[in-house]
Symmetry: D2
Subunit: 140 residues, 4 copies
């Protein structure tokens, strides 16, 4: 069994550039969130629906390694995998690349923690956990 | 009776610059929000408390005229007045300037509409309206 | 002859929501920029190429009327027209709507001013002006 | 000799909240940038001046551990140290806390890489390196 990889593409917004004429580094975390949203949707339940069911996944840990800059209007591709589903955390890995050249711009990992509606840490409900496990894997 | 003017200052963040090496225009609306928050706080009740009491003020209309650019690390001053309190709307005016040179960078106006907790348009509760009226005026 | 309307679609990012659980109002100006970039590209020369040729269009005036909220993961559609090309300014109009329901969320207008590489106001170079005029019109 | 710690404070902007009613996680990287700018300024040369001298420090690696949420209008304190100056990289550490309660909200580290005006990786000029070394240390 192998991990499913989903990809989503979008262009760098002018708003995302900084005076170095490259995409400002914090926006990569937003791009990862786009990848994550897209990946979860592909698993059959949108994150929006998940939140409506009272499960919130909050970022508890994030790390990014920047390798090359992105520029205004570049077509960005985020490839996302759901690497681990634990009792209370979910780990995603991301590769951000330039969709036209294939150059890798950054790699990132985020660990999300499961919160209930009152924002307390809780174990993932069994059905959500099952759903995330299915979301993680490529159909054979 | 004259309108109270409050001022708040902060520096342009690197994140707020774009590849023109000036502050990206959309951030001025955020700066106006900072001025508005600061102005309301000066009236004796924070906007945070106002929301906790079930009153939300949502921006219904915004207009900005940009006159000169702001650059990274510039000290920005936002001067805010609460120009009108109507039954369901509140109007704020802003002058954004460079605090060190005095140069006016932009003028702006936003009209906010009163929403209840369910985000329906409602008339402002009398006590909030009174509070906003007091907030608008300079003490003589 | 009628104005060309171009449309571009994207989803509301989690990063764009605020604690009212709607898209924060300043992001609409970013969405207008996406519409503008897309519209200009459709005219045969990207804005990126335009900047590379030394022409910068800076927002000099912006106004937005907000009509209904956008929520996380909503599919947004921005319809853009280039309404006027003058000697030193270009005016764009935007309609932001929910692509799935058709509901209009906001209407906006921005006036952009032509700057040279040194960020001085200049008349638009004749070839750029011609290009923008062509960009504005629907092919008959 | 011990490392100098500088602190800077600001309030959480409404724009920075998300629909979880907490500050969106990517903004913490912006807050770190504010801490870094403030720290460098305290060393006698602003980062703005450094860039004007042709030295750019680009974020090459970032990691954050989130411990507790920040909410709208909270007074945030960022404590920054410059932990290491190497030939081509500079490492900063950050503690983000609630200035009123003292609660630690996040800890973060960024590694910045030295670029020249053409955005190529270069060794730090000796004078800038000396300046950063002095910036790092507390005066005894």
């Amino acid at each position: 069994m192998s991990l499913r990889v989903s990809t989503v593409e979008f262009r760098v917004r002018y708003a995302e550039t900084d005076q170095m004429a490259v995409a400002y580094h914090a926006h990569y975390l937003v791009w990862c969130e786009i990848g994550r949203t897209h990946h979860i949707r592909g698993g059959g339940m949108s994150y929006r629906e998940m939140e409506a069911h009272g499960v919130t996944l909050a970022v508890a840990d994030a790390s990014i390694r920047y390798r090359a800059p992105a520029r205004y209007d570049d077509l960005i591709r985020v490839a996302t995998t759901l690497s681990e589903v634990a009792s209370r955390t979910v780990t995603f890995d991301y590769t951000v690349s330039n969709a036209e050249t294939g150059q890798v711009l950054a790699t990132a990992r985020t660990v999300l923690i499961s919160l209930d509606a009152a924002q307390r840490v809780v174990t993932l409900p069994p059905d959500v956990r099952e759903l995330l496990n299915a979301c993680a894997l490529a159909s054979s």
